[in-house]
Each structure stands twice: as structure tokens, then as C-alpha cells.
């Protein structure tokens, strides 16, 4: 697990409720309004050694990204309120969060979604359904690419 080496970069001073998350490997921020999916991925990624933070909508995602500075963000595009595209655009517009890779996740197979995601600044695009192992493989590839 090469990613674990990157885990050392996590900030030392963290709120206590966040300490458990940081204790593992790289921090993954899962943004999805559908809890079952979000918790499924979180369960799998935790099992795989990642630290996982979760956000239920765009605003929550922006706040946690700014606060936790995750290594990678998995962003569901279709969300009520602030959607994935807008959240991604804002993350990429913010110098403090710009460097964090965003993997866009969508249930829409339409090509327009992938293009829209890239235009918004997403680094990768994954179509649902996506089994947890596949998502993990994608995260690993992104992190490895970023590390190089």
C-alpha cells in the first residue's frame, strides 16, 4: 500500500472527532447525498486503510475540504442544493483546495456529464454503478499520479 506513506502529511493539530480519521492512511472525502452509497464506500475504503470523511451536500463538502484538506475528494455530481459541478468549481477556484484531486461520480452515463465534470475541474470521472473495489482502484491511481 504505497498510499500509506502519503498519510504522514496529515496535519498534527486536529479536532478530536477528526483524529480517528487522520490516524489511518490518506484522507478521502466522500461527497454524496445518498447515505447508503456514501457509507458503503466509506466502509470499504476504511477497510482498505484509508481515512474517510463524508459530506452530504455541496456546502458541507466545501466546508470539510477546507477544514480537513483531504488527499482526494470523491464528488457525486447530482445533488440537491449546491451540486457537484458547482462544488468542484469552487474547490478548484480556491487556492487552498485547488491541489486536491476530485473524482467525479455520476449516475448519468450521458457524455455531457463527463465533459461538464472535466470543465468544472474534475480530475477523473466514474460512472455509477461503480462497485467499491473499482472506486478504490481509481482513487489509488489518482493518488499515485498525483504523487509522481
Amino acid at each position: 500500500m504505497k498510499g500509506r506513506k502519503r498519510g504522514s502529511r496529515a496535519p498534527a493539530a486536529s479536532p478530536p472527532d477528526l483524529a480517528a480519521m487522520v490516524a489511518g492512511g490518506e484522507l478521502v472525502l466522500l461527497v454524496d447525498d445518498f447515505p447508503d452509497n456514501r457509507e458503503m464506500y466509506a466502509q470499504y475504503l476504511t477497510f482498505k486503510g484509508y481515512r474517510v470523511a463524508e459530506a452530504g451536500d455541496g456546502h458541507d463538502a466545501l466546508a470539510k475540504a477546507g477544514a480537513l484538506r483531504p488527499d482526494v475528494i470523491v464528488m457525486d455530481l447530482s445533488m440537491p442544493g449546491l451540486d457537484g459541478w458547482e462544488a468542484t468549481r469552487r474547490l478548484k477556484a480556491d487556492s487552498t483546495t485547488r491541489h486536491i484531486p476530485v473524482i467525479a461520480l455520476t449516475g448519468h452515463a450521458l457524455t455531457g456529464h463527463a465533459e461538464g465534470a472535466h470543465a468544472a475541474g474534475a480530475d477523473a470521472f466514474v460512472t455509477k454503478p461503480c462497485v467499491p473495489s473499482d472506486l478504490a482502484a481509481q482513487i489509488r491511481r489518482i493518488l499515485d499520479t498525483k504523487r509522481r
Binding site: 458503503m40 466502509q43 470499504y44 477497510f47 447530482s78 455509477k128 454503478p129
Partner: protein, 717 residues
């Protein structure tokens, strides 16, 4: 006069009275002469000369009776003008004539011509001896003439007395002879006359024996010397036939006629005669019968000829009648009325159609008769245009007639023409009437048709406007439909997303459980979890296919062209299918030519099609092989990717059906072989988008070959 010498008084005086022997000699000489001469005139002249020589005659004249007329006229004279003597005549009915009575007397007498004025005879005034001359004819003594001699001396009386006796007899004989000659001549003339009559004329006695026959009769009935046997027989036969033809016994004075058939003795041919017989009675000859035969053979032939001619005329007449009947037939067969008028304008002939207009049918109403008369009047006035028109041979115009039974107007166009005879005189006028009713009706119909056409045009214009409105509505409807279709596609896309979200959870949790992340998994549980996973993936495939179809239908399947080579694409496909291929235990391979021209198309779509075809081939092939091959048709510039399997094959009737949505050949959607049943339908749509096509060759039980045929480059859309 021949040999006569002039008598002069001197010579007579010198004679001085003849002596006895000398006188006897003279008397003998004169008597011989008189007997020898048959000329009365010469006889009379010689006698007067003799008296002048021997009887002291100075002036004398001999008068004789003409045998036929009984006229007393001068025959010869001496001592007077002979011309005056010849002119001198006394008619037999001049009963007061002294000379006539002297001539009829029996004794020598004296005649004294002492009357003042013109003398009674050429002798002139004086005294004369009158010696009547007479002779015997038969037993009758008839006066023959008178000698007037002067001067009346005794010598003269004596000599004249002697001479008168001889001369009277002699002249009577000569007169008789002359009469006989005359009669004979007349007879000959008459004979000639009857002989020249071509008809046989026969006079028979009461016994039927022929008395007189003319030449023509002789030809038929007369035997000649040395005649032929045929002629002899013919003549005998003719005589027999004639005898039986003339009436025997009861004689009748009125003419009777009957036919008599005889034989021509010369020719042997039959001759037909009409025989006319009549009894004649003559005081001297008694009763006889005249038969006149008239040759009617020619007449008979003429009659036959006439009959023949008559027969011919009859035939000709019949032919002419037949000709006329035919003409009538023709004229009557003409639908147009035809009327023939004489030069006076009266109708002489017309055909049936004309009769309907110009003749009153039997039992017609008074109105009908009235209309016929009106038609007649109109027609007459029309024809009169031609009759009184100088130099025109044709007249053309309209006539207002009416149909007699109904009284309906008959618009008629008429043409009259003159028929001229040989010498240019008007023989007849032929008029042909042409009923214009039909034409008028046609014009009326035409007007109606025109009106109807106009109405139709109006309706068409109206309909066109309506159609345009409908088109507009349709256009709007189409736009609405397109909008609806887009909405549907959007809806399907949304639905797809909504489906994917829960499906993501199902597949994800199943996957995690199968990986043992949530705890140990018993074999039974694992089996069940794999079924959940399999069905979840099938559902996902269904959702993906529906999404594809809806995108294609909505025209929202963009085509991205690139140049690529098929071998690489096929290797990719086979690599992706490796797990399935391994499971199938089939021989799956590719047969690729060394060189293939590069292809320009939408690579992902081509790959999707080939993937689908190979996947299907594996799915429907229980055992054997699946071969993927490529080929290039240089002529059509087409590239084909073929997938050939040794599978179950497809019935010909199913070969089109399998390209329909949600179909498999067995009509059991995705049952036995799995899959959405949309694969081929999508492949066909994708091939269509790429300007290509899908082809199928298959026989049940012997496998199938699906081919994707693509153009070298799709047309620009």
C-alpha cells in the same frame, strides 16, 4: 304516109277516068296494101291517096271512132291541113252533131258545110260526100268511122262506095287487134303487179284448184322441171297444207284469216303465214276464191323478239327497283333526315327520319298534324331559297322545326343541293337535315361541366388552404412531438440515473460481501450473493441498453470520427471478452488479412457493435467455434467485420425479427440466453448512424454469420 306521093287535081284530071283493067289492077293493089298494113293511120291515108288518084278526090278526111272512148276524131286527110285534122274531134255524147249521125248512118250521104263563120270540119265550106265506115266484130256490125270526100262527083261516089266497104272492115279489124294488144299489155302489167307483191296470192276455183298464182305463190306451190326431190316433196306438202287450209264448201264473201304453216322449198325451213281468203264472184268467170298469204315468220320472230325485249325490260325494271330499294335502304339507314323535292318544291321522296318530321302518322293528334304542316312550311321556304336563287346550286342554313309528336324544338341545320339533269335543267333538289339537338345538348353539358370544373377548382383551392393549415398543424405537431421525444429521452436519462443510484448500492454491497469485507461468507451465501450480483448487472445492462436506444432515437448519439485499424480493435474486443471466452470453452479466434486499408469511423461505436456480435455468437453457440474476420470490397469500397459461429442458427422467418427491440429468435426475451434483447437492435441503429449495415447469413443448426459492413468513410451529416 310512107311511099305516098302528093295528090294534085291536075293528075286526077289528067287521069281522066281509069280504064277497066287498069282500075282493077289499082283496086287489087290497094286491097293488098290494106290487108298487109296493120297501121290504121297509114291505111286511111293510103286509101285517101288512092281516091285522089282514081276517084277525082280533091279534099277528103277520114274520121274514126276511138275504141275505148267512142270519140270521133280525124285519122288522115288529103288536101287539108293535117294538124287541123288531128285536132278535130267529136264527143260521142254530142247528139246534135250532123257528122256523128252521118258516121253512125248506113248509107253514103251528102254533107253540105255552108254555115257562115267557122266551118264544121277542117275541110272548109263546100259540098262533100259522107261515107260511113263499118265493120263486123264477131257477128256484130259496128260503126268504125266516116269518110268526108269532096267534091261529090259520080266517080268519087262510086270509088268511095267500094273503098268504104273495104276500109270500114279493115279499120274495124285493126281497132280490134289494137284492143287485143292493149288488153294483153294491161294483163301483163297486172301480172307484173301481182308478181311483184312479195306475198303469195292465189286464185282458186271452187274445187280448190289453183287458177292463178303469183311468183311468190309459185315459189311455194309450183313444180318446175328438174327440181330436187326435197323441193318436190316440200311443194307437194305445201299444196296439201294449202288445200286443207282454204275453206271447202261454204263460200263466204267476207275475208277470213287463219294461220298456215308451210315449208320453204328452197331453204327447208318453216314458214308461218297468215292466210286470208275471200270469195269473189264474176259474171263471166263464176265464183272463185282469192287467197293471200302473208309471211308472218318474221312477224313471229319479231313478236318473240318483242317478248324477249319485254322480258329484258322487266328484268331491267326489277333491277332498277332493287337498286332503288337499296338506295332507299341506304337513305333510310342515314340517321339524318334526307328529303328529295321536285323542281316545283314538292316532296317526292324522303327517308324514315324525314318522315318522322314531314308526314303525319296514322291516328296522329290534330296538334301533330299541325306541327307537320308547320315543318312543311318552314322546309318549303328553305328550299325556295334555292329555287329562286339565281346561279346557286347549294343553300345552307338553319331551319326551325319541331318534333311533331312532342312539339319539342328541333334545331336543324340543312343543306340543299340542286340535282341537274343531262342538259343542265333542274331535276330535283336534295336536302339533308342535320339534327343539332345532340350538339346543343353537348354544349349544354359542356357548360355544366365547365361550371362543375370551376366549382371543383374552388373546392380544390379551399382544400389546398385547409391542407396548408393542416400541414402547419402537422408541423407544429411534429415540433411538439420532437419536443416530447426530447422530453422522453431526458426522462429516460433521468430515470436511468435514478435507477443507477440504488443499483449502485445493491451491486456495491454485494461486491463487498463477496469480498468478505463484512465477514466470512458461507458457500451457500456466496452462491446467493452471486445471483444478486448477476441479476443486478443484468438490470444494469438493461438500463444501459434502454438509455442507448433513447439516445439514438433522440438523435443525441454524437458521432466522433477517427482513423483506426480493425485488427487492433478486434484484439481489444477479444481481450475484454476473455473471461467469457474461457468459460465458454469455445474456439474463438480471429482471421485477419495482412493488409487492410485504414478505416474512418466512430471507433467506440464500431467496437460496441463488434463486442455485441462476438458476445452474442458465444452466447448462442453451445459448442464449436467463433471466428472474427475482416474483408474489403475494393469495388464498393466497403469494409466488413464478420462473426461466424457454429451455433444454433436462425430460421429465415426469424432473421429480420431478431433486429427488433427486445427480441431473441425464440421470442423469449432474455430468458435462456440472458441479455436485454436490445443488442442487435442497438447494433443495427449504430451501424445505420455510421452509414453502414448489418448483414446476416444463417441456417438453423448450421450456425450464423453476422457482418458489419462499413463504408470507407461515412458521409458527412
Amino acid at each position: 304516109m310512107a311511099g305516098a306521093s302528093p295528090i294534085t287535081p291536075a293528075r286526077a284530071a289528067a287521069a281522066g277516068g281509069p280504064g277497066g283493067s287498069e282500075l282493077l289492077e289499082a283496086k287489087l293493089g290497094l286491097a293488098e296494101f290494106l290487108v298487109a298494113s296493120d297501121n290504121p293511120k297509114e291505111t286511111a291515108y293510103r286509101s285517101l291517096e288512092w281516091l285522089a288518084e282514081y276517084g277525082e278526090l280533091r279534099r277528103g278526111v277520114c274520121l274514126t271512132f276511138d275504141a275505148e272512148s267512142g270519140r270521133l276524131g280525124g285519122l288522115a286527110a288529103v288536101g287539108v291541113d293535117p294538124a287541123a285534122v288531128e285536132r278535130f274531134t267529136i264527143e260521142p255524147d254530142d247528139h246534135g252533131s250532123r257528122i256523128l249521125s252521118l258516121a253512125l248512118g248506113r248509107q253514103t250521104d251528102h254533107f253540105d258545110d255552108t254555115r257562115a263563120g267557122s266551118p264544121a270540119t277542117p275541110l272548109g265550106r263546100g259540098r262533100y260526100l259522107a261515107v260511113p265506115l263499118s265493120g263486123r266484130i264477131g257477128r256484130e256490125t259496128v260503126p268504125t268511122g266516116l269518110l268526108l270526100l269532096g267534091p261529090p262527083t259520080d266517080v268519087l261516089r262510086e270509088m268511095a262506095g267500094w273503098l268504104g266497104g273495104i276500109l270500114g272492115h279493115r279499120l274495124a279489124r285493126l281497132a280490134r287487134l289494137r284492143q287485143a294488144l292493149e288488153s294483153d299489155r294491161r294483163l301483163r302489167r297486172e301480172r307484173m303487179l301481182i308478181d311483184t307483191v312479195p306475198d303469195p296470192i292465189i286464185l282458186t276455183d271452187t274445187e280448190g284448184a289453183m287458177l292463178v298464182a303469183n311468183t311468190a305463190a309459185h315459189r311455194l306451190f309450183g313444180s318446175v322441171e328438174g327440181e330436187s326431190e326435197g323441193r318436190r316433196r316440200a311443194v307437194a306438202l305445201n299444196n296439201m297444207l294449202f288445200s286443207s287450209a282454204v275453206p271447202q264448201g261454204g263460200w263466204r264473201s267476207d275475208a277470213q284469216s287463219r294461220e298456215l304453216l308451210l315449208v320453204d322449198p328452197q331453204e327447208g325451213s318453216d314458214l308461218l303465214f297468215e292466210i286470208i281468203t275471200r270469195s269473189v264472184a264474176d259474171a263471166r268467170e263464176g265464183t272463185a276464191q282469192v287467197a293471200v298469204l302473208r309471211n308472218v315468220s318474221d312477224l313471229h320472230r319479231a313478236t318473240e323478239q318483242i317478248e324477249e325485249n319485254y322480258r329484258r325490260v322487266r328484268v331491267a325494271e326489277a333491277e332498277a327497283r332493287a337498286e332503288r330499294d337499296r338506295l332507299d335502304l341506304i337513305i333510310n339507314s342515314v340517321a339524318d333526315p334526307i328529303v328529295v323535292s321536285d323542281p316545283g318544291g314538292a316532296i317526292v321522296m324522303m327517308n324514315d327520319p324525314a318522315e318522322r318530321i314531314f308526314s303525319v302518322p296514322e291516328g296522329a293528334s290534330p296538334e301533330t298534324a299541325l306541327r307537320v304542316r308547320a315543318n312543311d312550311a318552314h322546309f318549303s321556304s328553305f328550299v325556295s331559297n334555292l329555287l329562286f336563287g339565281e346561279g346557286t346550286t347549294r343553300h345552307h342554313g338553319g331551319v326551325s322545326l319541331v318534333d311533331p309528336p312532342s312539339g319539342q324544338a328541333l334545331p336543324v341545320e340543312a343543306v340543299s343541293g340542286k340535282v341537274l339533269a343531262e342538259h343542265g335543267e333542274l331535276a330535283a333538289i336534295v336536302t339533308v337535315l342535320h339534327d343539332r339537338s345532340e350538339q346543343v345538348e353537348k354544349e349544354r353539358l359542356y357548360e355544366e361541366l365547365k361550371l362543375a370544373t370551376e366549382q371543383l377548382e374552388q373546392r380544390i383551392t379551399q382544400a389546398t388552404v385547409e391542407l396548408a393549415e393542416q400541414n402547419e398543424q402537422l408541423r407544429r405537431s411534429k415540433l411538439e412531438l420532437e419536443a416530447a421525444s426530447a422530453a422522453k429521452s431526458q426522462f429516460l436519462a433521468n430515470m436511468s440515473h435514478e435507477f443507477r443510484t440504488p443499483l449502485n448500492a445493491i451491486l456495491g454491497y454485494t461486491s463487498m460481501m463477496l469480498q468478505g469485507i463484512t465477514g466470512p461468507v458461507s458457500p451457500a451465501l456466496e452462491k446467493n450473493l452471486r445471483r444478486v450480483d448477476s441479476n443486478g448487472r443484468h438490470l444494469l445492462a438493461l438500463i444501459n441498453d434502454v438509455l442507448d436506444i433513447s439516445r439514438i432515437e433522440a438523435g443525441r448519439m454524437p458521432v466522433t470520427l477517427s482513423d483506426f485499424e480493425l485488427p487492433g480493435l478486434i484484439r481489444e474486443v477479444l481481450a475484454e471478452l476473455e473471461p467469457i471466452i474461457t468459460r465458454s470453452r469455445l474456439s474463438v479466434r480471429s482471421e485477419l488479412p495482412r493488409r487492410m486499408p485504414a478505416l474512418t469511423s466512430d471507433r467506440p461505436k464500431v467496437k460496441q457493435i463488434v463486442l455485441n456480435l462476438v458476445n452474442n455468437a458465444i452466447k448462442f453457440t453451445p459448442s464449436g467455434s467463433v471466428v472474427v474476420s475482416t474483408s474489403f470490397d475494393a469495388r464498393r469500397k466497403e469494409t466488413a467485420v464478420s462473426v461466424t459461429d457454429t451455433g444454433i442458427g436462425i430460421d429465415p422467418e426469424d432473421q429480420e425479427r431478431i433486429f427488433e427491440d427486445f427480441r431473441q429468435a425464440d421470442n423469449s426475451p432474455a430468458r435462456e440466453y440472458g441479455g436485454a434483447g436490445l443488442g442487435l437492435a442497438i447494433c443495427r441503429r449504430l451501424a445505420d448512424i455510421l452509414d453502414g449495415r448489418l448483414e446476416l447469413r444463417s441456417r438453423p443448426g448450421q450456425g450464423s454469420t453476422f457482418s458489419l459492413v462499413l463504408p470507407r468513410k461515412p458521409r458527412r451529416r
